[in-house]
């Protein structure tokens, strides 16, 4: 039930309620008076949509082209383009039977139809399949089956009601009518839908998953229950995908491993590589590591393993085993990066980066290096001119820490400073190096910094700065320790 302006109304009903004469949209109070045993629950369209999406995702096992097709309550559907897929399952009948069985196993009331056009299949599944004892229909011929369908099967919404007012009940009734008249009375949409159902106009399914030309999949009659056998399957799949990639001179940048569970759940494992990779063993190793880390719930078993190459880039053929064993090839380093990324995490494997700024903590740092060389990122790497100062400390604190310093004169170097409760006597110092705040970025509260390189009596080196120009920006300049070497 759901609440509308007219009070609580029935949102969807089951077969028993329908048999008792209840209807969708009926007020709950009326329905309860007709059928006192009626049990209601609040409608949750969002969850319905989520489930529909999840089921559409799981339908990927039958065809890579699948999409959820949300409809009015109780009329949701899934669209599948099974062109060329049927032979993998022993014919269209068996494919439909299998898909329908999977849906019913999940407790859904489901019907199915297969037809040469999307529009026809849509109508057949909703109006003919429920009448069929098997719950599904298969139509090779467009016209006869189309003409026997009611006008509602055209996906035209309210227009169907108007058509009925004119006594036009089936599609066959309107099929022979002059097109100009139909357009004038019922709008262009009706003709478009009719043409689509007849196959005169093309209708393209918008698939849930992006189109990936490179995929490899394995299907098992018996579901895999053990991680080891799953890994073996992943291995086989990877090698077959790599063979495809090699034939076309491509390397893998990003991949998705889809594991279809028997009960309709799909596990997705994503993978990125530092450089185009095509070495089956390497990719298998990365995927296995991911599998170990993901601790996926195999449940009642996994019966379809699919690896999709969602991003590829050109990779020339390579000769194996010729480079010096002790040397490190580019590929070797990329492979190492991949392994580190998988185990430590992408943000933990870093490469030095420089930014156009003179504030030390901004001027240089470390950033994700694992996937940094992805083609999309290379364009944005901008290198400022190479004139950075050479006297920076080896170690820099990510956040400068306040220190108490004693200086002889307000703008002179510190003679001693206390940092982390340890007092250091300064014997040598160089500076100041004055760095103004970046006015285009910083707030007004930030001050000029005067940096000093100092060496303590023991010979330890620190990098300190005094923030704020005495008398101009602040009355009490504050000292900070920013680095050590």
């Amino acid at each position: 039930m759901h609440t509308t302006t007219g009070g609580e109304r029935l949102y969807a009903i089951n077969a028993a309620a329908e048999a008792a004469g209840l209807q969708r949209g009926q007020a709950v109070a009326d329905a309860k008076s007709l059928e006192p045993g009626l049990r209601t629950a609040p409608a949750d369209p969002e969850t319905d949509q989520r489930l529909l999406r999840a089921f559409a995702r799981a339908c990927g096992r039958w065809s890579p082209w699948c999409a959820p097709d949300p409809g009015p309550p109780g009329q949701d559907g899934i669209l599948l383009d099974i062109t060329g897929c049927a032979r993998l399952f022993g014919g269209e009948e068996r494919l439909i039977g299998e898909a329908l069985g999977a849906a019913r196993e999940q407790g859904l009331t489901a019907y199915a139809a297969a037809a040469p056009t999307l529009g026809l299949a849509w109508g057949l599944a909703r109006f003919h399949a429920p009448q069929d004892p098997s719950g599904w229909v298969l139509s090779e011929d467009i016209r006869p089956s189309l003409h026997s369908l009611p006008v509602e099967a055209l996906r035209i919404g309210e227009t169907a009601t108007q058509l009925r007012r004119f006594g036009l009940k089936t599609i066959g009734d309107i099929a022979g009518m002059p097109r100009a008249n139909l357009v004038r009375r019922f709008g262009r949409d009706l003709l478009r839908r009719l043409d689509q159902a007849r196959g005169d106009e093309e209708e393209v399914l918008d698939p849930l998953l992006p189109r990936t030309p490179y995929r490899a999949r394995m299907r098992f009659p018996e579901a895999l229950l053990l991680l080891d056998s799953l890994k073996q399957a992943v291995r086989e799949t990877t090698h077959s995908l790599c063979a495809h990639l090699e034939a076309d001179g491509l390397g893998l940048r990003r991949a998705e491993l889809n594991l279809y569970r028997v009960d309709g759940k799909v596990h997705l494992i994503g993978l990125g590589t530092a450089a185009p990779a095509r070495d089956g063993d390497h990719i298998t190793r990365l995927l296995n590591e991911k599998l170990d880390r993901a601790e996926i719930d195999i449940g009642f078993g996994i019966d379809v393993v699919e690896l999709r190459a969602s991003a590829t880039s050109p990779l020339g053929t390579q000769q194996d085993g010729l480079y010096d064993h002790k040397g490190v090839s580019e590929a070797g380093l990329a492979a190492l990066t991949d392994r580190l990324v998988i185990r430590l995490g992408a943000e933990r494997v870093q490469r030095a980066t420089r930014r156009p700024s003179h504030i030390p903590e901004r001027a240089a740092g470390w950033r994700d290096g694992g996937l940094a060389s992805l083609p999309a990122n290379t364009a944005e790497t901008h290198h400022p001119p190479d004139r950075h100062p050479t006297d920076r400390p080896l170690l820099i604190l990510t956040r400068p820490e306040p220190a108490e310093a004693v200086a002889e004169i307000p703008d002179g170097p510190p003679r001693s400073f206390t940092w982390r409760r340890i007092r250091h006597l300064v014997d040598k110092a160089e500076g100041p190096e004055r760095l103004a705040p970046e006015w285009w970025r910083d707030r007004h509260s930030s001050h000029t910094r005067d940096y000093f390189r100092v060496e303590t009596r023991e010979g330890r080196r620190f990098w300190l700065y005094r923030e704020g120009l005495f008398g101009l920006e602040t009355r009490t300049p504050q000292w900070f320790v920013h680095g050590a070497s």
Partner: protein, 261 residues
């Protein structure tokens, strides 16, 4: 004729055993133990492929030890025929990062090319040790910071040493100033900072400037050699051994008589 005494037989067995070990580990018995010539400090600065440990003498010397580690690595990288990539493994989230992160702009002054460094931060020590070994096995050279991790033991160090040696790589590990547990490292250095030579002409108001950084390098143990102790200075992208100051000019040394008086 008396039969041969049992001793030659035993020594033949020993020889066979030595040959066996030599086959497994070519470097292990390269030179007989005990009679090691004292090597010059300059020679000691050339590290053999394998694992070497560097420890600060005190907690506050940690940056100095890291600087020496970086300098060592740069010197050896420069002289290596192929330019292997460098992997820098350090613990993540604050532990062992008391003095901050390596600063890319400073790496150049220490002889490293920032672009060649791959920094890997590991959330736990098991991951860090795994990453170190993985890097060495790939043929990369390694700067590692392990602090006082208990997971780093004799077995672990042996694995790292073998991984580095098999690929002809250099692995430099920074340990904590507190630890002294045994390991299979080829050498262990203890580093402390030393005051540099004052450069009066570039100092700040009232203070002299900083000279080339100096360190006291104590070679605590080295495979097949006696320990050594000398001062080094980082100058022109290399470490130079400093001659001990003549006795007459030891200004920094306190006068023992004056102290007792």
């Amino acid at each position: 004729m008396r039969s041969a005494p049992p001793r030659p037989k035993g020594s033949a067995q020993l020889d066979r055993l030595r040959a066996k070990i030599r086959a497994i580990e070519p470097h292990a018995l390269a030179a007989p133990q005990g009679a090691q010539p004292c090597r010059a400090p300059g020679e000691l600065l050339h590290l053999q492929p394998g694992l070497h440990e560097i420890c600060p003498a005190e907690y506050l010397d940690t940056p100095a030890a890291l600087a020496v580690q970086t300098g060592f690595m740069a010197m050896h990288l420069r002289t290596s025929e192929r330019r292997p990539p460098l992997v820098w493994v350090r613990p993540a989230d604050g532990r062992g990062q008391d003095f901050g992160q390596p600063y890319p702009l400073a790496l150049k002054a220490w002889g490293l090319k920032p672009d060649e460094v791959l920094l890997a931060e590991a959330s736990d020590m098991a991951d860090a040790l795994w990453a170190m070994e993985e890097a060495l096995r790939t043929g990369a050279w390694l700067i590692g910071e392990i602090g006082q991790a208990s997971q780093y033991d004799l077995t672990r160090s042996k694995r790292l040493n073998l991984a580095a040696r098999d690929c002809g790589g250099l692995a430099l590990l920074l340990r904590s100033h507190l630890t002294a547990s045994p390991s299979a490292a080829l050498s262990r250095w203890r580093i402390s900072a030393r005051p540099s030579q004052a450069e009066a002409w570039r100092g700040a108001t009232g203070l002299p400037g900083l000279g080339h950084p100096r360190y006291r390098a104590q070679l605590e143990r080295v495979k097949g050699g006696p320990p050594a102790d000398f001062d080094i200075e980082w100058r022109n992208a290399a470490f130079h051994v400093l001659k001990p100051a003549p006795l007459a000019q030891r200004a920094a040394q306190p006068d023992p008589i004056a102290l007792s008086a």
